[in-house]
Symmetry: C2
């Protein structure tokens, strides 16, 4: 049988109330008493029972992270960011990596009810309405990279639009005029925003009209397919901007197979800055997203909500990206934020 607060009280010759007060740092305890209690508690290796505490405080000091099927690096970095921030504040993290469909997501959310003080939810393609049904009004939620809507939930986004805008501007500044894009899966928010950034930058240069766009789905294979089509084009683009690195890598390989040189014949850029980006040849120019920061920021936003519900406006925050210039878009030593 584990040692309880009663054992500590008895051993210290005080009441359980005093033990509770001393251990929770309340001020209405004599220093002498507190000291004695603390000493006894450590000697007895006392550990408060979280269940009993939660039962009465209605707090678990645990948050849930509900994530879709993410590629390894994104997933691990995100969890890492969340976990580090959570630990710093004495919170625990319950994970659920839901595999795609929204039924499973809402099942996971339901299962977490009562075990968590709040939820971090990432669901890049589903529309948020199902969330409103799955979630009890009382539970604080922060959305990650979720579609913008007039939701009652605060949300955090990577600046997909800004990153794509900056990258396309960069390519334009290098003298490229005909800049193609390989897009991501239909209905994916990140993909849409990246496409929008690309288009906006082209529009600034009055080049948006017949800009070549190729469908993709974020997979290396779809990038490869797009690369093949690009290689076969009568009028090849000066540059190709893939909506993520995996497609850029696929495209790079396809171009190589067709004898199209990068960056000699065509410049190439990606998005995400996955580790692979540094290992392909030429190294890939890309947009770096600070994923761990996204996780950390989301957690902090959630904690703010927990500690002072409703005090901060429910709005979307945007985390900046930075472009990372490497060899695949030609010799460009500078690195722009």
């Amino acid at each position: 049988m584990a040692v309880t607060i009663k054992d500590v009280a008895r051993a210290a010759g005080v009441s359980v109330a005093s033990v509770s007060r001393a251990l929770n740092g309340r001020d209405n305890v004599t220093d002498a008493t507190r000291h004695r209690i603390l000493e006894v508690a450590t000697r007895l290796r006392y550990r408060p029972n979280d269940a009993a505490r939660s039962l009465i405080t209605k707090r678990t000091r645990t948050i849930g992270a509900v994530l879709p099927d993410l590629h390894g690096e994104f997933f691990s970095e995100l969890i890492r960011g969340i976990d580090v921030a959570a630990r710093a504040r004495g919170f625990h993290v319950l994970v659920s990596s839901s595999h795609g469909d929204s039924d499973e997501t809402s099942a996971a959310i339901r299962a977490m009810q009562g075990r968590v003080d709040g939820l971090l939810v990432m669901s890049p393609h589903v529309d948020a309405t199902f969330l409103h049904e799955s979630l009890p009004d009382a539970l604080p939620v922060v959305l990650l990279n979720a579609p913008p809507d007039r939701s009652r939930f605060p949300a955090l986004h990577l600046d997909n639009h800004g990153g794509a805008l900056a990258m396309t501007r960069h390519l334009l500044s290098r003298g490229h005029r005909r800049i193609a894009m390989i897009g991501g899966p239909a209905g994916n928010l990140d993909a849409d925003e990246r496409r929008r950034g690309w288009l906006d930058a082209l529009a600034e240069a009055s080049l948006a009209d017949d800009a070549p766009f190729f469908d993709g789905d974020f997979s290396e294979a779809s990038g490869h397919a797009a690369g093949q089509r690009i290689a076969a084009l009568a009028q090849r683009p000066d540059a190709v901007f893939a909506a993520n690195d995996m497609m850029a890598v696929g495209c790079l390989i396809a171009l190589g197979e067709r004898g199209v040189r990068v960056p000699g014949d065509v410049a190439l850029a990606g998005f995400d800055d996955v580790p692979i980006a540094r290992y392909v040849s030429p190294q890939l120019t890309t947009v770096r997203v600070r994923i761990a920061d996204l996780g950390r920021a989301a957690f902090e936003r959630l904690v703010a909500e927990l500690e002072a519900p409703g005090t901060r406006p429910v709005r979307a925050e945007v985390l900046p990206c930075e472009i990372v210039v490497r060899a695949s878009c030609g010799r460009c030593p500078e690195r722009t934020a």
Copy 2:
């Protein structure tokens, strides 16, 4: 105020005991009563309070996963494997990605006390003694890729030795005689086992004596450095077996920079089968480890311990690896298990 078991009892016209029995599937409840209770419970959207339940049952239906700093793919796959298995059995997963030092690991373990029914702990380099101090005797623990010892904990291992043995044998079967290895960090169990497998295979062919060994630390940079030294060697090896894929990639790049062709001049193999392995050129021959399976198996082992403590012998289980033959070791169409 949330709806409690009392509300359900009142609405169904029975006692709380009957509600509890009905909801927990006990057999001593009339079908009629059970049905009525269930109906009322769903109508009222009743959700049992986990804290109250845990308080009395001493169970949380949650397990903790304490993981070191792993590369993205390994981390996410492992969590995924654990999570899927856990969800199937109605368990939750508390994660903690400790960043290296064992102080933090044991802090994480301590923090999880009382919140979890059992622990999955991965700590490839620390010696397991500190675990014995950090862990209460009562808490079931399964170790992942931990050093073998006369521990009281069951453990699961990837078959690092077997994988390296199989890969080295494969290289030998392709006619390579002088097979170098780039090793992993000192004191790392996986690295040691892989080296041992390589040595054992060489010993079988009486080639172990002056086999070239290069130090590495699992980083791409250390592989690159080793590659440079290999390229500069007067008597180059026929093949290089890197203890992980990242070092193999680094080595590949270094060799390419020095004009050493792979697989023409030297064959190359790695370990892990990370996604990058397929995207380098030539594609990398490597040892595939089924990480999600490792997570799943570890969870199942832990659950077995939870449900029938001490019934299964405390011993180490080993999960097989398979070698994946690609272009980097020359044209070898077959794929061996």
